[in-house]
Symmetry: C2
Subunit: 253 residues, 2 copies
């Protein structure tokens, strides 16, 4: 039986990056896509409990089932693996995201939320992102790397509980220098909201902000991307800071 | 000058747990509250980029400013620290959540999203949750522990980049056995969506699911809570699984 590959994203079922990933995945196996109806960037690991969800068949063909769901990327992974995949997926993919999910962006990302949910459910999973927010971005230069990583993970697996956060620099064909295994850079977004005044004189705020990376490390994902490499960060869902457990024992009573 | 304590949550500005935390915090310093207008449980680290946000003054008194914001808990922390706190907060609190944020729940939790955002911005932060979803839950038995932890963290600080995920067992006064410093238990939610049929014969799905904890460890948060202790897990925002970096070097090209 061909491998089954489940795909989601956070840019929505009609995003160009999703179609690009679907085409590559179809080279390796049967494909089920379940993606949000609309763009849900920045939805992180959100789930929808306050209203029920609907699922719609978008496109069906031999070895390809594409569904949309009016929930979050995490909802899509739960729903698809439990109710819409004909068998447990051999691999779960998310993306290709329009825009970086490197560094601290991983924690805001719905694309990576889907990947982490798949990991928790026990599936091998990879999230792919291209460093371009352009809805018509050119995904071609990164395709050989996406293909390579899917093939390798299908063949060799991943350490238990580990998934991959893959970011691709925005470079023309042939200028990407290879793949680096990295850690997540230390960084944050600053000056996040800008105030405006509405026609009635009342204030409102738009999310904005500038990215500040203070990580001088040369084995970080920001370093790899700035230097023309595809960055691969092994990620997991255990937020425990183990080295702090000893340091805060004085909090006990 | 008195310490400034910023408080948020994900149950909304009118939640009983928020008021309980505000009362305890006011013993230690001036308080700014900025909380979501409505219940936003399960919103994780979501941010709002697709529409502008509004902020409303709810209650103002000497040393107490309470605002609501129509964004997520993470939006609240960004907005409050940048535009509504009269000085940088000495401590950021979130909760007291109605319901557990132990184990893997930390990753779905908007309450803990607020805590992790504060951590990224460089502030000391603690999230508190009570293991009861009752809107009228009794927070009293946990108050001495909340008070103790706030006092200790204000006095001694926390390791850099580390915040605390504190969960309180649902026990009568006097039956809580103390505080344990723990790691996050390995667990997941299964069978997440249940299908129903609408009056027109079309399917829809409600989020549900059962919690499965497979972690036999006696220094985990689930163990502590089951055995009557307040669990304190030091958490951070670096999702890198460092021990896997060496193991996946064979993915490079």
């Amino acid at each position: 039986m061909r491998p089954l590959i489940l795909i989601s994203n956070d840019d929505g079922v009609n995003a160009k990056g999703l179609h690009a990933l679907e085409e590559i995945a179809a080279e390796f196996g049967d494909v089920v896509v379940m993606a949000p109806l609309n763009n849900l960037s920045g939805q992180s690991h959100s789930i929808t409990g306050i209203r029920p969800l609907r699922v719609r068949e978008e496109r069906m063909a031999e070895g390809r089932c594409v569904y949309s769901c009016d929930g979050t990327p995490v909802d899509c992974i739960k729903m698809a693996t439990e109710h819409f995949c004909p068998r447990p997926p051999d691999l779960v993919l998310s993306g290709i995201n329009h825009g970086s999910n490197s560094s601290i962006n991983v924690i805001y990302s719905g694309t990576m939320g889907a990947v982490l949910e798949a990991t928790m459910l026990g599936f091998k999973a990879i999230g792919f992102s291209l460093l371009s927010h352009n809805p018509d971005a050119d995904f071609e230069p990164g395709v050989p790397y996406v293909r390579h990583l899917i093939g390798q993970v299908l063949q060799k697996g991943l350490p238990e509980g580990v998934s991959l956060n893959v970011n691709i620099p925005k470079l023309p064909k042939g200028e990407i220098r290879g793949i680096r295994i990295c850690h997540q850079s230390k960084a944050q977004w600053r000056d996040s909201f800008t105030q405006r005044i509405d026609p009635q004189g009342r204030p409102y705020w738009w999310l904005t902000g500038k990215f500040e990376c203070n990580d001088p490390s040369t084995d970080s994902d920001e370093w790899a991307l700035t230097n023309g490499y595809v960055s691969v960060v092994p990620v997991h869902t255990d937020l425990t800071r183990y080295d702090a457990i000893g340091k805060i024992q004085n909090l006990t009573i």
